[in-house]
Symmetry: C2
Subunit: 204 residues, 2 copies
DNA sequence: GAAAACATACCGAACGGTCGGTTTGGAGTC
DNA sequence: GACTCCAAACCGACCGTTCGGTATGTTTTC
């Protein structure tokens, strides 16, 4: 952390990280700028030097904190070098095994924001949807590669299955958060894995 | 509607309905009491005569507006008299066919509230989770009946599949809301239907 | 059965705290 | 000395909440 005077990049980054964490815990509206300033030790003048409004700060959090690590994680998981369907199953398995009360407590940052703000701010919705879309495309691409490698049953639609995977993961995260129950998350992901396993061509 | 003076039941109900609609559109935090008063023509004093706080009003909306019709709809759908698995599939099919931009625009009221408030207010979370739990149990019960009627493949766990159905429906609603795309909802539900179809014993 | 006493339903102006945002000015750097 | 970067005091609107008060209806008391 150790942010010293006149280190604009560090100041900006500290604000983004603190905002990201608080928005994840409390949502956008319930996150107060004062709390971010208290946590970072940054002054209000400095904050408004880097970000024009609270909204701009929030949008920057989506693009610069949430987006890249999330997509990178999935991209890396889906390009492990095994066959794409197996890579996907291993990735889901990993997510499932990592599910703890801590993980489940605050849910998925993007999904939280999307549900809170989709109806209130079109720009927020668009930015979040852009991440979701790229996420879907990563999975769709993996399934497409699996299909072209002859691993999938005929009739399997990569785009539709990708949308399904995304919906199930988001649904699992959301229901587990509401119930505060990691088991719910694990069970739902396990069922998804079974579903995906059944897409594999028997002869493959 | 036609609320006249000294009709407390009507006044209370008008407040609940207006609040429910606005909370569905904007979320709890972004809903202002003044807007509810403007829409209903009720005075601020009258509102605070019926509800101690905004929070109490919101909790009452969950219990008295959202909960009952939602559970009744699913209960009725799952007790149509056909075999339980078919009833479930027909119900999902109906939900899928009814998906329009309008439906998808604001998402599921309960899911919206859950994602917005689960981390902020434990009592809200508990009340919403209670509805979700009853919903899961309705589906679990239907699948259990199907199992006992010998309709399901061995190894199918009604509780786990019920949790899966709930997660997929919530996930489908959420992703479709974020994308503002009814097709996403329909595709995801269709895939869920295929998954459930595969639970049926081949000889049945 | 009328008046008194009370309860319920409702009114709306005003309060008070929060919080996003602004202003002003100063410190460091080129 | 101009520009970036930041500090601290301050502003003002919004909004949930309060509260003194009115009106209508019901119960009690004589």
């Amino acid at each position: 952390m150790s942010r010293t005077a006149h280190n604009p990049e560090a100041t900006r980054r500290a604000l983004l990280e603190s905002a990201a964490a608080q928005i994840h815990r409390l949502g956008f509206q319930a996150t107060s700028l004062d709390a971010i300033l208290a946590e970072t030790g940054v002054s209000k003048g400095a904050l408004y030097h880097h970000f024009a409004t609270k909204r701009e700060l929030g949008l920057a959090v989506v693009d610069e904190v949430y987006r890249t690590p999330f997509l990178d994680d999935w991209r890396a998981g889906l390009n492990q070098g095994g066959d794409p369907l197996t890579d996907l199953l291993v990735l889901l398995r990993r997510k499932r095994d990592q599910a703890s009360l801590c993980t489940v407590q605050h849910g998925c940052p993007l999904n939280n924001l999307a549900q809170e703000l989709a109806g209130l701010d079109e720009e927020f919705r668009r930015r979040i949807e852009a991440v979701m879309r790229d996420w879907r495309l990563l999975i769709q691409d993996a399934l497409e590669r699996a299909r072209q490698a002859g691993l999938l049953r005929p009739g399997v639609d990569p785009a539709r299955e990708a949308a399904f995977v995304v919906a199930v993961v988001e649904g699992a995260t959301g229901t587990a958060k509401t119930a505060q129950d990691p088991q719910l998350f694990a069970d739902t992901l396990a069922t998804l894995e079974e579903h995906l396993l059944a897409l594999r061509l028997r002869s493959a």
